[in-house]
Amino acid sequence: MRKSLEVSVADRRRIGDEQADDRAAAFTRLAERHLDASYRLARAILRDPGEAQDATHDAYVQAWRKWSTLRDPDRFGAWFDRILVNTCRNRLQRSTRWQARDISSEVVAAHGDPFGQTLDRDVIGVALRTLSPDHQIVVALRYYLDLPVDGIAARLGIPPGTVQSRLHYAIERLQGAIDSADRPGGSR
């Protein structure tokens, strides 16, 4: 009886080790599978490769710490995207006043630029910087990931109406920024 108990303890310890190994392996497997898409989403939101790398790494660290709260591995993508979006939001919010300088310095002068489409993209990049972090996020989820409003709401944990509202005001503001750039004396 005692022997069987010892076996049982040893077995439980081995099972525990195996579970820990399995846990790490499962995390690594899912992380690797989603890494490229995660990085691209961070790039779309933050628009800076270095910031996106840091945010993606930090989000995966958080995901590993919260791993025990993921009940269904099939939902890893949505679960992790929420962590990643929150990480990106924090980085946008704590970005330094240097961004204020960047806004003006990155506007491309229009003199003789024959590549109107390229210029339009630059104007959009500059205009995106004028949005609040939450507005930047819904715009990226809608127009980069092509998520529907309900999908964005689910990812962010907010009502669909709030998503609609944020998209509406974000587009309005972007349009205003682009129109302003188009006017004489504007940035293009």
Binding site: D36, W64, R101, I103, S132, Y143
Partner: protein, 446 residues
């Protein structure tokens, strides 16, 4: 429903900027795969006590009603309200009292994100994996993070013994008053979606934590803020007071604070061809009320040029001192003193160099100026700019990642190994540097 032209432009912009063929950099991939091996997951022991704290805070907020600041309105006010004391003390519910102090291993600062020197020997540094403190100017470091640590958007490293950090749920504020040996935590009643804006502290016992209000974000009248105050060292937080960060036409939707400072600041961005909105807002009560002040203008600070508040503090006579960041014809570092009329400024002092630089007010009379570019110099004064000392720095600075505890002791951090710049952000080869001789020599640590 057909996309509008701007929506089509956005889709095209993203497709070009972030092509679907773009993969994660190999360094990031290696770092992520190593996470289960490198990151020790500790059990978070917050559950029941956190709920208790939330309940206590909610009851407290209800009882106190008008709360500690009194008369907090949604409109910017001409001058900041004085700090008032917090309400009744909540029942003691200390948690996280486990000492986690341990010698930190080498390489801890590969992903360093923030650091602050608070005395001639003590500094704090934060990474995604932990919070570290040195008691001996970087000779040794101890991991002192509380349970539930997650890299914060902001933290308050107030002095050698005191630090306030949010935990990973974003709504629990942990504080240590014994150099990280023990931590206590309190949850504040905000939604987890409320973004942490900033800490602002007058002293180790008294200050504010400010959240963005997700229900009133970036509205035409400004961004809503949820402000909680403590006057007992984080044992109780009272609030929220509903502050309003005033709106600019060209708005930077954020507030910024100098670490260890009681001031929050809000300034405008600038669009090419548009005049700069030549004023800023500042708050000394966590953003519950704001004072609008014009930026100093003059030959060295042209009115329509982009400016930010590089440093702000009250001088010995109680008047505000401001060192504007300038982006224009001149980048000379000038310190201005606010007059009896809020709109009046006088030039108090000018730093010796005329290069772009970062100004830090160590005290009302002791200031340190760190110039950018090669060679960098460290200029300091202990008499409000009457006399200056200039030292050639052994480090070349490109960013503001440097803080000073005195004219002698400073800490700088970088995501690059030997250059204080963010250009290799994400490479995981960061480092922390400390000087104790005014910047003449910097020692890489850990």
């Amino acid at each position: 429903m057909t996309d509008r032209p701007i929506e089509q432009q956005l889709r095209a912009w993203y497709a070009v900027q972030v092509p679907v063929t773009e993969g994660a950099p190999s360094a990031l991939r290696a770092g992520v795969v190593a996470i289960p091996r490198d990151v020790v997951v500790r059990p978070v022991q917050l559950g029941g006590q956190r709920r208790l704290a939330l309940l206590a805070a909610a009851v407290l907020a209800t009882i106190i009603g008008g709360w500690l600041l009194g008369g907090i309105g949604h409109q910017p006010t001409p001058s900041p309200s004085p700090t008032k004391t917090a309400g009744p003390t909540a029942p003691p519910t200390p948690i996280d009292t486990t000492s986690q102090t341990q010698q930190a291993p080498a390489g801890i600062f590969a992903a360093v994100r923030m650091a602050r020197a608070v005395s001639d020997t003590v500094a704090w540094a934060a990474t995604p994996d932990g919070l570290y403190r040195t008691p001996d100017a970087g000779q040794t470091w101890q991991a002192v993070q509380p349970l539930g640590w997650a890299l914060p958007a902001d933290a308050a490293f107030v002095d050698a013994e005191t630090a306030y950090v949010p935990l990973e749920d974003g709504v629990t504020i942990a504080v240590t008053h014994d150099a990280g040996q023990t931590w206590t935590s309190r949850s504040v009643p905000v939604d987890a979606g409320a973004g942490l804006a900033s800490f602002s502290f007058n002293s180790a016992a008294s200050g504010y934590v400010t959240f963005y209000d997700p229900a009133h974000y970036d509205k035409p009248d400004g961004t809503g803020l949820l402000v909680f105050g403590t006057s007992d060292g984080g044992a109780t937080w009272v609030g929220p007071a509903h502050g309003l960060q005033p709106a600019f036409k060209n708005k930077m939707p954020k507030v910024s604070a100098a670490h260890g400072s009681p001031f929050l600041v809000s300034t405008a961005a600038q669009t090419e061809g548009q005049p700069f909105e030549n004023w800023f807002y500042t708050s000394e009560d966590g953003g519950a009320t704001w004072a609008r002040l014009p930026f100093p203008s003059g030959a060295l600070a042209p009115k329509n040029d982009l400016k930010a508040v590089g440093a702000i503090m009250r001088g010995p006579d109680g008047h505000l001192l401001v060192a504007p960041d300038l982006e224009g014809a001149s980048e000379a570092q000038v310190v201005y003193r606010n007059g009896d009329e809020p709109s009046s400024w006088s030039e108090l002092a000018q730093a010796p160099s005329s290069s772009s630089a970062s100004v830090q007010f160590v005290s009302a009379t002791t200031w340190v100026v760190t110039t950018f570019g090669a060679p960098s110099t460290i200029e300091s004064t202990t008499d409000s700019g009457t006399h200056w000392r200039a030292i050639d720095s052994s480090l070349v600075f490109q960013t503001r990642n440097v803080t000073w505890a005195s004219t002698e002791t400073g800490i700088a951090w970088s995501t690059c190994p030997a250059f204080v710049s963010n250009s290799c952000s994400g490479s995981g080869t960061g480092a922390v540097f400390i000087t104790t001789d005014g910047g003449k020599t910097w020692r890489a640590t850990r």
